[in-house]
Amino acid sequence: MTLLGENMSGQTPSRPELQEWAQGYQLRHPVLADSGFGVTFSYVDGGQVGLPSFSLLRQGVQVVINDDWVDEGDVIANLP
């Protein structure tokens, strides 16, 4: 899932902007409007978030990695 926290004006991305992002990068996964980075910040330790921010959840939505790099090996190791 991609969580878009802001648009170019610092506002919550609109639905057309979500569509533009998904089409521009040919994404087939959910692209979501994360107003004020609310959900993204909930996975961050401390007050600073670097973008892009990656978190990995295994089956059952159990957090494996929060706000850190996620590589292919991490994804493969946690496949259902």
Binding site: L4, G5, E6, A22, P30, S42, V61, Q62, V63
Partner: protein, 161 residues
């Protein structure tokens, strides 16, 4: 009377044989492959088209009238909650056919049957069960994290810059 007694003895003998084999008399009807189909066991299962219960599908939504009665949906209305998805599509998609706000995603994202069993704990740190969230997607649907309980999920925080 003699025939009746003999019949009882015969039934008792079959039950005894079944017990000695360590099997239920209904074992042969169980759904061995777990696909909720073709088990012919006479036990109602939503979406099981061959559960041994003959019932019409009056509204053609993929659910028999008997299944709709059990679910509380209208057997004469293919879309009971009027959300644009048929009752059959909702059952197949693990959503509630009686609740318009709950329906399959237009984006086709899978919805896990386990979504209502998730018990979040902690603050989204390693080992925690993640908190629920609900956010707008590009199709205009409100996407809920726990609907993805059967999948591995990568969250990518970004900005439209």
């Amino acid at each position: 009377m003699r025939h009746f007694t003999a019949a009882l003895a015969l039934v008792g003998g079959l039950a005894l044989v079944s017990a000695c084999n360590g099997q239920s008399a209904y074992d042969e009807y169980e759904d061995d492959d777990g696909d909720d189909d073709d088990d012919g066991n006479g036990i109602f299962n939503p979406g099981d088209d061959d559960d041994g219960i003959d019932s019409p599908d009056s509204d053609g939504d993929g659910l028999t009238d008997a299944e709709e009665e059990a679910l509380g949906t209208d057997p004469d209305n293919p879309d009971t909650d009027g959300d644009g998805w048929t009752d059959g599509e909702e059952v197949d998609g693990n959503t509630d056919p009686n609740l318009a706000a709950d329906h399959p995603y237009q984006g086709g994202w899978p919805i896990g049957a386990c979504r209502d069993q998730i018990q979040p704990n902690g603050n989204n740190r390693p080992g925690d069960i993640a908190q629920q969230f609900q956010l707008l997607d590009a199709y205009g649907d409100q996407v809920r994290l726990h609907d993805f309980c059967e999948n591995e999920v990568v969250l990518i925080g970004a900005a439209f810059w």
